[in-house]
Amino acid sequence: MNSLDTLIRMANQIATNLAHEPDPAAATAEHIHLFWDPRMKQMIRAHDGTGLCPVAQAAIARLAMAA
């Protein structure tokens, strides 16, 4: 598993576990914002979304907008 695969997996995990938050995508984006280092965030933002679940995709989109 390379680093990007790991990040995709991590993002999906976060999204799945925050699925019961009022706004899961926002909660996922916030979690990544708070706990990932800049390079990891940049890598996931630069990714085309393949392999990401819909909530994670939405979260990454929010991160990209905020960046």
Partner: protein
């Protein structure tokens, strides 16, 4: 201080609030009701002669030496078993008593070897003292039948048993019963034939169920049970109180010394974490401090295929600084990072994270808590507002129901395990949730009311099922929830857990636990009185570790089991200073006191104090560092007191990450496994050689005191400071107390902490601030730190680590009593006699299917790697589950574990790995390759030879 034995008041203190005034030898004394006359006399300063009494044990009344006269009463009652009464008039020294005591003592001495001058306990023997105290001057009895000349039992590596010197006072037997709770010792025979025995008459101490906690040795009033070190060295001449460097219980000991030589570690009775008790590790397993494997000189090498070259400290520091600067200039400052250690002091940990943030210029600092209790930090901060357990250890005395989940306290936190067992024997009820049948489930006089043998990886499901029962059967504490928690969030959570899909019946196929057991356990926890939850790494080291912690918090809040003695949520921390390392800002996203690095106000505070700008972005966690290293962008790391190659998951990936770095600095006692990939080795100091503080699992900050000079010449905080100065930082600390002053200045929860205060008050439990000037034994008493308690929906998400045809079994890992973590310390002690290799526990059915018997070599393989080890066929584990420990590098259990991790914190999923087990005839390829690499990497060119 000059050597004085610890004060012994003869019988335990009474906890009664009301007092009684009596007169002893003409002087009035006021003591708590329920005190013994002996205790009252001792508190007054009158030492009544005694042999079978000691204040660690309940009174026994067998030696007949502590007789007193009480006005208005007939006879001469034993003062240890006679409770005080108002107006009682006691005489402790009269001609009649003197004659009686002399007679009793004469009988004892008539059957005791008179070898005092050559006895190991000479000068430190209660029998000797009491013979003097009663004025015994002669023994009139002629030689006759006696117990002299019996064979010694020297089987235990740490203490001898000489039955010839035994006075059969039963203190050892009672210590094993009352203090330790193992009940390994007994008195065999009757009358003159009475003899202390470890287990059956055929057993010696080593072969018995004795766990070598040493409580019997401490209790023995003669030299019958005596430490081999005392026999070898002699009695101590001074004692220094310090804190144990093993598990998170944080036992305090008197390091009893002769010169700079440690003679023995004796649990400090005033220590509030351990109350005078210890385990085999803390009391006896300190020989590693002087082990020949210790590296005492700095070493460097240009590449890991070269041998090490010993250098002076200046050269090592200059080389380290030049390499770090080169790498920063070449690859950017984010190519550097550091790892703090939960085995080091708060002060040392604080300095390492400061070095990374202020010196390296980034937040790439993490700690070994990443791989153990990081989900505790996340989960409890989210739900309660504080990243720490809620109780002190004493709290268990008021617990009515104890729920232990994913923890094995009798092995991993043995001193607290004994406290827990004491409470259970008093009648508290017990629920154990664990895939294995641990000793808590069933051991002498202990039996869990419910054992839920949950399938590894389904903790969230079982906790949700418990919550389902509590909510749907109306067992929630509505008043507590209304007053203390966010009601909307509670209703959202309650609606979720009440769904049919979360019922014990629906989840039974998932968890593997019968629904009626779950329902019974839930009812007991919710309605059995004060309910306390204790948990360990069996909770955190999962892909839903953080969710499990929050699910536990939900249960406690839903039942009102927070904010008073006897209840709470209690993470049992693995290493001695896990709590402290986390408190000190070791995580890459937060500064000390758990304040996020993105908080400008907090950053401003540190920037002003440190005179640097801080990066507002979180740094890399350990697994992210390793990923970045294999990506070629993370190039240098300073690792203090950790062995990530052995302790972290997926060893091959860790090795690849380390091998990809250009500068690995290992700062440790030994050439550990990580050092095989290091370029610079900085020798570390043991806890005996340094000053500082540790913070235990109950947030208790205690002093670590230097009892001997560091063999390597420097305490660890000094080494970090040397490195910082070599990098150009103007650090000038002269003592760790100054570092603690800085911590207190910058960390609200430590505001009132100082070494001076700790020296005076022995310990403080954070927060120590304006609102809690004397600390906080129990948290969330008047409300949660975050305001309202937060219920979080924790939906069960199955792990991606699936069993299948290739890997049909689930591996879970853990610890054993005699070894500690990666074993770097305990493997270099006589503790090896109990556990000299990691073994694989496998259920008889699974073993039969594979043709495996106990003692057979087996190959343990997962998708990450394979290793070989011996099998132990046992029904402690359920069918489909195998278990091993990770204490030995020859086995490297983490070759098998994967890099799957907790969703919130990246804490590795150590507890669930799909594996296959098959008979084997030799080491795995990894083991063979690694052994060769390890041997090659440990070559050292000594300085003299190099010159």
């Amino acid at each position: 201080m000059t050597y004085q034995p610890q004060a012994d008041f003869g019988t335990p203190a009474s906890r009664a609030d009301e007092t009684v005034t009596l007169t002893i030898d003409g002087r009035a004394v006021t003591v708590p009701a329920g005190s013994s006359v002996m205790r009252a006399a001792a508190e007054q300063g009158t030492a009544i002669p005694k042999l079978c009494a000691t204040d660690m044990l309940e009174s026994f009344g067998s030696c007949r030496l502590c007789l007193v006269e009480i006005e208005g009463r007939k006879g001469t009652p034993a003062s240890c078993t006679t409770p005080v009464e108002p107006g009682m008039v006691v005489h402790t020294q009269t001609p009649r008593l003197q004659q009686l005591r002399k007679g009793v003592m004469e009988l004892y001495i008539s059957d005791h070897p008179l070898d005092c001058l050559t006895c190991a306990a000479n000068g430190d023997c209660e029998l000797q003292d009491q013979a003097g105290a009663v004025g015994l001057r002669e023994v009139r009895y002629p030689a006759g039948d006696n117990h002299l000349g019996q064979c010694k039992d020297i089987s235990n590596p740490y203490f001898d048993f000489d039955p010839s010197k035994c006075i059969t006072c039963s203190r050892c037997v009672r210590a094993c019963d009352e203090v330790q709770g193992t009940l390994a010792l007994t008195v065999q025979g009757r009358g003159f034939g009475s003899k202390i025995s470890a287990g059956l008459a055929s057993d010696d101490f080593l072969g018995s169920e004795c766990v070598s906690c040493g409580a019997c040795v401490q209790a023995c009033p003669t030299a019958t049970l005596v430490e081999k070190k005392v026999v070898e060295i002699g009695t101590p001449e001074r004692a220094v109180v310090t804190t144990c460097a093993y598990c998170g219980v944080g036992c305090t000991f008197r390091a009893e010394m002769r010169g700079e030589q440690l003679v023995r570690m004796v649990p400090w009775k005033e220590g509030k974490a351990n109350r005078g008790h210890s385990c085999v590790k803390g009391r006896f397993a300190w020989g590693y401090a002087q082990h020949q494997d210790r590296i005492l000189k700095p070493m460097i090498r240009a590449s890991i295929d070269q041998p090490w070259r010993e250098v002076e400290w200046d050269e090592a520091m200059a080389y380290a600084a030049s390499e770090l600067k080169r790498i920063s200039a070449t690859y950017g400052k984010h190519a550097l990072g550091g790892i703090t250690s939960s085995r080091c002091t708060n002060e040392e940990t604080f300095l390492v994270q400061k070095l990374v943030r202020a010196g390296f210029g980034n937040n790439n600092v993490d700690t070994c808590a990443r791989v153990c209790h990081s989900p505790t930090g996340y989960g409890l901060k989210t739900t309660f507002g504080t990243s720490a357990g809620t109780q002190d250890f004493d709290s268990v005395e008021d617990s009515d129901v104890i729920l232990v989940i994913g923890a094995n306290p009798t092995d991993a936190h043995p001193v607290f395990g004994s406290r827990m067992k004491q409470r259970l024997r008093q009648g508290a009820r017990l629920i154990v949730i664990d895939p294995r049948r641990t000793d808590m489930v069933r051991s002498p006089h202990i039996a869990a009311d419910y054992h839920l043998p949950v399938r590894p990886g389904t903790n969230v499901a079982i906790l949700t099922a418990l919550a389902h029962v509590i909510v749907t059967e109306g067992l929630a504490d509505d008043e507590f929830i209304r007053e203390r928690c966010d009601e909307d969030e509670y209703r959202h959570w309650a609606d979720f857990v009440a769904l049919d899909r979360n019922s014990p019946e629906t989840l039974e196929p998932v968890t593997g636990v019968a629904a009626d057991l779950v329902r019974g356990a839930a009812r007991l926890y919710a309605t059995g009185g004060n309910g306390a939850i204790y948990y360990g790494l069996g909770v955190t080291e999962h892909s839903q570790g953080s969710s499990t912690v929050m699910a536990i918090a939900n249960l406690a809040m839903a039942t009102g089991n927070i904010g008073r003695r006897g209840v709470g949520v209690n993470p049992l921390r693995g290493q001695n200073n896990v709590q402290g390392a986390c408190d000190m800002g070791s995580f890459p996203h937060e500064l000390s006191g758990y304040r996020h690095i993105s908080d400008k106000a907090v950053r401003d505070l540190f920037e002003r104090d440190w005179g640097v700008s801080l990066d507002p972005e979180p740094g890399l966690r350990i697994p992210n560092m390793l990923d970045a290293a294999t990506d070629g962008v993370f190039k240098a790391i300073y690792i203090q007191g950790e062995d990530i190659l052995q302790s972290d998951p997926n060893t091959a990936h860790v090795a690849a990450g380390l091998a990809a770095m250009e500068c690995v600095i290992v700062h440790d006692l030994f050439l550990n496994e990580t050092a095989n990939y290091a370029h610079i080795f900085l020798p570390g100091s043991t806890f005996l050689e340094k000053d500082g503080t540790f913070t235990n699992a109950e947030r208790r900050i205690q002093l670590v005191r230097k009892v001997m000079s560091p063999l390597n010449g420097h305490e660890d905080w000094q080494v970090t400071q040397m490195l910082a100065r070599a990098l150009g930082l103007d650090w000038a600390y002269t003592h760790p107390s100054e570092i603690m002053d800085e911590i207190a200045r910058l960390t609200p929860s430590f505001k009132g902490v100082s070494h001076q205060r700790l020296d005076a008050e022995a310990s403080l439990q954070w927060p120590v601030d304006d609102k809690h000037p004397d600390g906080s034994p129990i948290m969330h008493v008047d409300g949660f730190v975050r305001g309202k308690g937060k219920f979080v929906v924790t939906d069960y998400v199955p792990t991606d680590e699936k069993t299948g045809p290739r890997f049909p079994l689930l591996l879970t890992t853990g610890r054993i009593l005699s070894q500690y973590n990666v074993g770097a310390q305990t493997r270099r002690t006589a503790n090896e006699v109990w556990h000299d290799e990691d073994v694989l526990e496998i259920h008889p059915v699974d073993a039969e299917d594979r043709g495996v018997r106990t003692g057979n070599w087996v190959k343990l393989a997962s998708r990450a790697g394979a290793t070989t080890l011996r099998a132990l066929v046992t029904d402690r584990v359920a069918p489909g589950v195998v278990y091993t420990t990770f204490h030995h590098p020859e086995t490297q259990a983490n070759v098998v574990t994967t890099d799957y991790s907790d969703w919130a914190t990246n804490c590795p999923e150590y507890k669930v790995t799909a594996v296959q087990v098959a008979p084997s005839n030799g080491p795995s390829d990894w083991q063979q390759d690694y052994q060769a690499q390890s041997t090659r990497s440990r070559r050292i060119v000594q300085r003299d030879a190099a010159e």
